[in-house]
């Protein structure tokens, strides 16, 4: 009986997710099923694993507090062929750079992005906003009150992240002159690090120039 009920719950949740199309907040599912959040989240996780493990044509995404069904990337080509749609354009290197800076330093300003990149990023930021990968989120309380930017839920979905915490770790360039922040935003004392890691010369980052 227990498993039977569990499967029913799973199917009901599948129905809700399918009907919505859009991301569904977990609380909404809890209220509809009159169930507590841990249980609902457990079922969602189970459903997610099922789609992936059975290699079904749909997948379940977990984005912050929301869950959303999407088509399985494995069948992207076939699906596109069926509807004669093109693969969305790949992000250019400048777009990727701007997006990375905003992802890691958000909320942040265009001036900050410009400063790190050494070039004007206005156009690229406009494009990223159009693609709904970044969005404005208030203004900085300094003269001129510049806009602040952050990444969106669409960004998390596009990069298959559940939250910003899933972003890859900031690489350690091995340089001893480098300052690093811990999770409290404090600078990590690099002295201890140098003793462990030894004195490697920082690699000169040579990356392909922008296309």
């Amino acid at each position: 009986m227990e498993t039977m009920e569990m499967r029913e719950i799973e199917s009901a949740i599948e129905g809700i997710l399918f009907a919505s199309g859009e991301p569904v907040n977990v609380d909404r599912i809890c209220v509809a099923l009159e169930m507590d959040r841990p249980t609902v989240e457990q079922v969602l996780q189970k459903l997610m694993d099922y789609y992936a493990y059975e290699r079904r044509g749909i997948r379940l995404l977990h984005i912050e507090d929301s869950w959303q069904l999407c088509s399985a990337p494995d069948y992207a080509d076939v699906i596109r062929r069926a509807f004669e749609i093109r693969k969305p354009a790949k992000l250019s290197q400048p777009a990727l750079e701007v997006l990375t800076i905003i992802a890691y330093y958000q909320p942040t300003t265009r001036a900050f992005v410009d400063q790190i990149r050494g070039v004007d990023s206005a156009y690229t930021m406009g494009l990223l906003q159009e693609r709904k990968l970044i969005e404005e989120c208030g203004r900085l309380q300094v003269p001129g009150r510049p806009h602040l930017y952050r990444t969106t839920k669409q960004f998390l979905r596009a990069f298959h992240l559940t939250s910003l915490e899933d972003l890859p770790e900031m690489p350690d360039l091995g340089g001893e002159g480098q300052m690093r922040l811990n999770e409290n935003g404090e600078i990590i004392d690099p002295v201890e690090e140098t003793e462990i890691t030894g004195a490697d010369t920082p690699e000169t980052a040579d990356f392909p120039t922008e296309a």
């Binding site: 399918f18 009907a19 919505s20 199309g21 859009e22 209220v31 997948r59 995404l61 959303q68 069904l69 999407c70 088509s71 399985a72 990337p73 992207a76 699906i79 693969k87 969305p88 790949k90 992000l91 290197q93 990727l96 750079e97 997006l99 990375t100 800076i101 992802a103 890691y104 400063q115 790190i116 990149r117 050494g118 669409q154 979905r157 596009a158 990069f159 298959h160 992240l161 972003l167 890859p168 900031m170 690489p171 360039l173 340089g175 001893e176 002159g177 480098q178 300052m179 600078i187 004392d189 690099p190 002295v191 003793e195 004195a199 010369t201 920082p202 000169t204 980052a205 990356f207």
Partner: protein
Amino acid sequence: MENPVYKLEKVVRSRSEEMQDFEGPLDLILFLLGKNKMEIQDISISLICDQYITWLEQRQKMDLEVASEFVTMASHLVYIKTRMLLSIEDEEAQSEMDALIQSLEERRRNENYARIKALTVKLGPMGEFGRNIITRNPEPMERGKIYEYSQEKADLILAMAEIRNRAERTLPPPRTAFQEIAQYEPYPVESKAREIIRQLKEHGITRFRLLFRGNRSRSEVVATFLAVLELCRARVLHLAGSETDCTVRQDRELPDHLTLL
């Protein structure tokens, strides 16, 4: 006194000129600035020197080349700072300092940019996921008819307080609001009462109107009038005659404690 000459070119080294451990003094300054959470503008030479020595001791190896580079740089910084302190107009020192700050900031920025570029190499392929998934539109359905409210219990008390506040604003102000104003006696009734008694003792029966002679303020007139009333009530004074011609005489002695209204 001969001015020592240091060229900035010697201090600001590019990355290609590799040194042991640090790629030149700028890396070292950046490291020490970071350690001290300092801004480049606020470089404290002595503090940095101390930490530099400590650092060298920790490494247990003296690299004379690095050490001398550092000393050169540190002394040059001291020199620039001294000149700037002695004369604000020293444009040469200012521009040298600016150049140093700029190169330090550039170094720091380059490091950040290199890190970002390294991250794009990781993030780029991750973005492939988004290019290969398709989400669907919602099924047609009615939405949003049930409202889920979430309120605090205290909201009820606050709401009632607001209703009451509003009610109070439209009411005539309560008596208590006037207490301070009404009870304020610039001219005490009690002292006026004693004054009237004294006056009657000295001059005998008088006219009511005459009691007000010499009253200098409205408050004194009020005090006089109230004092007469109070004294009548206490049967100390007796008023006789008509509205226009009223006489005042003292009937009894002033009691020890005259209670006023």
